[in-house]
């Protein structure tokens, strides 16, 4: 996994609440057996009318660019499909900002080097409005300091300490578990139930 710490970019606003994983990547695109190429179909049914780009959808609006997706409350609810995180990352985003993430999505994102940043509803609203007013608004994120800032505003976000370490070092949970296998065997032998 690539390391993540500082991100500086403009943002793409998607102020819709409860965006579910079926919108992020519809089920009919889950038939691949690899992890690549899902970005093409990110938000497929909002992004396209049939095979034509929907000009009203934000990813087709040339005003907006950057690798930070600024979403609405309860982002990523629904299915456990990691394909949702793969699609967002593959499209080029490195961070998603929301006032709440669904648990499984949040975990999946962090396991794939996509940073979910949880901010207050008030900050989210200000940030969204700032981007809509001025699409080139520059957003700076520091994972190390747990801060996100734009214009003269900033916010200190929470993140699980262990996950933070993994993201900063580009280390995956998998490696910790593999190292634990002897301890796990011992646990299995000592179980009494």
């Amino acid at each position: 996994m690539e390391k993540i710490n500082k991100i500086q970019s403009s943002g793409v606003p998607l102020p819709i609440e409860h965006v579910d994983t079926d919108q992020i990547i519809p089920a009919r695109f889950l038939k691949s057996t690899s992890k690549e190429g899902f970005g093409e179909n990110l938000f497929r049914d909002w992004r396209y009318n049939g095979s034509n780009a929907n000009p009203d959808f934000v990813l087709n609006d040339s005003k907006y660019s950057g690798n930070i997706l600024v979403a609405g409350h309860n982002f990523g609810c629904g299915s456990s499909r990691e394909h949702a995180a793969w699609a967002i990352h593959d499209y080029g985003f490195r961070a998603v900002v929301s006032s709440e993430f669904a648990d499984i999505f949040k975990g999946n994102a962090m396991n794939n080097g996509l940073l979910p940043i949880e901010v207050s509803s008030a900050f989210l609203q200000e940030l969204t409005e700032a981007i809509i007013t001025n699409p080139s608004t520059s957003i700076s994120i520091s994972l190390e300091d747990q801060t996100i800032a734009f214009d003269d505003k900033d916010y200190q976000f929470d993140i699980d300490g262990f996950k933070k370490k993994c993201l900063l070092e580009g280390k995956v949970e998998f490696d910790y578990l593999i190292d634990m296998r002897d301890t796990i065997k011992e646990y299995e032998q000592n179980r009494t139930f």
Binding site: D22, P26, K31, S79, A102, N108, L177, M180, Y187
Partner: protein, 472 residues
């Protein structure tokens, strides 16, 4: 320290806790299917690793399999590839697999419990969010992403932080015509689609105690739809009797011994939850959803909310082709789907058969009844339910996830309205542009017969004056 059932199960499965970090959490049972496992096996192989505990894994093909002519090769090449990769991976790693054609194949959350692989006190994961279903047996069961599937394949463990605990108590007797599906839709409508994010839920109270295992599974199944990590119900005699009837569950002295341990799996009387909710069963009527997430649900006799400031509502109703303030009862429907891991078990099919017996499906409604597993299908045939459906003009199909997520050919066409017993009404969930209304199997079959949104006779009678005042 007084403990909740969740705390007890959690503590039993912690292998080690890192200072100020997550716990290494042991998984007893891992279910896998064709869609979320290929990348995990690939990851393992790329690292040159073996599956750590193949005996604790059960596999089946369910998500993208056809529900007609299952004996023929799968036509869609991508689906066929996923299924054959699952077959190869199971063969290679010595994993117990129930493929298409096996007498025990079916939806992963239906076959696990019915075969006796899901047992009280277990920790259970699967790369599918409705793994919460297994919580009905007093398990910590939850859905995981593919990276985590790979972790469990390699170590039988996950790195987890402990969620908060919520208890939802429902007490009293349910009114006639109100099913367990209505109870969970009522709860989700109350909490909202993110209302339990960060929590693990325990369902308690006399209403759940009176439920059969199948009814409890319907409730726990949908825990994820309010954002909960999972939901569980303490095991009791109903649970033990169910397990005794399963094919591979423990039997005789072994069962007795286990029951002794399982009987201790309860929340201590004065244990504290982070959040408590209490509902009287008598306040619940048949429920339906009107919007594009499962939290947008109402009593079937109520009207759609009409908050003109609510952009989400406007967006949802626009997709659904519905109006604020509209009544849904009596609105014509195009499709009815009875199936999915929420409501495809034998009791669900019995409910549908009992209602439809001697009646006819409305001519302009397409109705799909999809049993959850080969065993459910076999039982339905033994009881003559398929004949009852056939006489009513409905063909019973073969087991699979089907129109729950429409990865196979069972897609609801664009713009069509479907009453569905599944668990998600998201935009496009049942096919591009499809409009989904979630309901109980009784409400669904009533809609198939009447050709419009309708429900159990008893509930209709009880609400007669309300129905009349609305139509005036």
């Amino acid at each position: 320290m007084k403990k909740t059932l969740f705390d007890k199960l959690w503590d039993m499965h912690v292998v080690k806790t890192f200072d100020n970090g997550p716990s290494v959490f042991y998984i007893d049972r891992h279910y896998i299917h064709e869609v979320t496992s290929p990348q995990a096996f690939k990851g393992l192989e790329d690292k040159g690793l073996e599956v750590f505990r193949p005996n604790q894994i059960i596999a089946t093909a369910d998500h993208n399999v056809p529900t007609l002519n299952q004996e023929l090769p799968i036509k869609d090449p991508l689906s066929a590839t996923q299924v054959s990769m699952l077959t190869d991976n199971c063969n290679k790693h010595g994993i117990k697999y129930y493929p298409l054609g096996s007498e025990y194949q079916g939806i992963v959350h239906v076959i696990g419990p019915e075969l006796g692989f899901t047992l009280p006190g277990m920790t259970i994961v699967c790369g599918d969010s409705h793994t919460s279903t297994h919580g009905a047996f007093g398990c910590i069961a939850f859905g995981i992403g593919t990276s985590q599937v790979e972790q469990v394949l390699a170590s039988q463990c996950l790195l987890l932080s402990k969620p908060k605990r919520m208890r939802i108590k429902v007490d009293g007797k349910l009114k006639q015509g109100v099913l367990s599906k209505d109870v969970i839709l009522h709860i989700i409508a109350k909490l909202g689609t993110g209302g339990a994010t960060g929590y693990f839920v325990e369902y308690a109270g006399t209403t759940f105690e009176a439920m059969s295992m199948e009814e409890r599974m319907t409730v726990c199944n949908m825990s994820i739809e309010m954002g909960a990590r999972g939901g569980l119900i303490a095991p009791d005699q109903t649970t033990f009797d169910y397990i005794a009837s399963t094919l591979y569950g423990p039997k005789g002295a072994e069962l007795e011994d286990k029951v002794k341990h399982w009987s201790s799996l309860k929340t201590d009387s004065d244990a504290v939850f982070d959040k408590e909710i209490h509902i009287e069963a008598a306040t619940i009527e048949p429920m339906i959803t009107y919007g594009t997430n499962p939290g947008m649900g109402i009593n079937i006799f109520d009207q759609i909310p009409s908050d003109s400031q609510d952009n989400e509502l406007a967006k949802s109703l626009n997709y659904m082709g519905l109006k604020p303030g509209e009544s849904l009862l009596g609105k014509s429907v195009d499709y009815v789907f009875i199936g999915s891991c929420t409501n495809s078990r034998i009791e669900d099919l019995r409910i549908a058969a009992e209602y439809v017996k001697g009646k006819q499906k409305a001519a302009d409604v397409t109705c799909w009844i999809v049993p959850g597993s080969k065993l459910v299908e076999k039982q339905a045939i033994a009881e003559g339910l398929d004949k009852i459906f056939q006489e009513a003009g409905i063909k019973m199909r073969q087991p699979g996830c089907s129109a729950c997520l429409a990865m196979n050919d069972d897609k609801i066409p664009e713009g069509k309205l479907c009453i569905s017993t599944s668990n998600r009404n998201f935009e496009g969930r049942q096919g591009q542009g499809a409009r989904t209304i979630l309901a109980s199997p009784l409400t669904a079959i009533a809609a198939a017969v009447h050709g419009k949104i309708w429900t159990a006779d008893a509930a209709i009678e009880r609400n007669q004056s309300k129905i009349e005042s609305q139509s005036r």
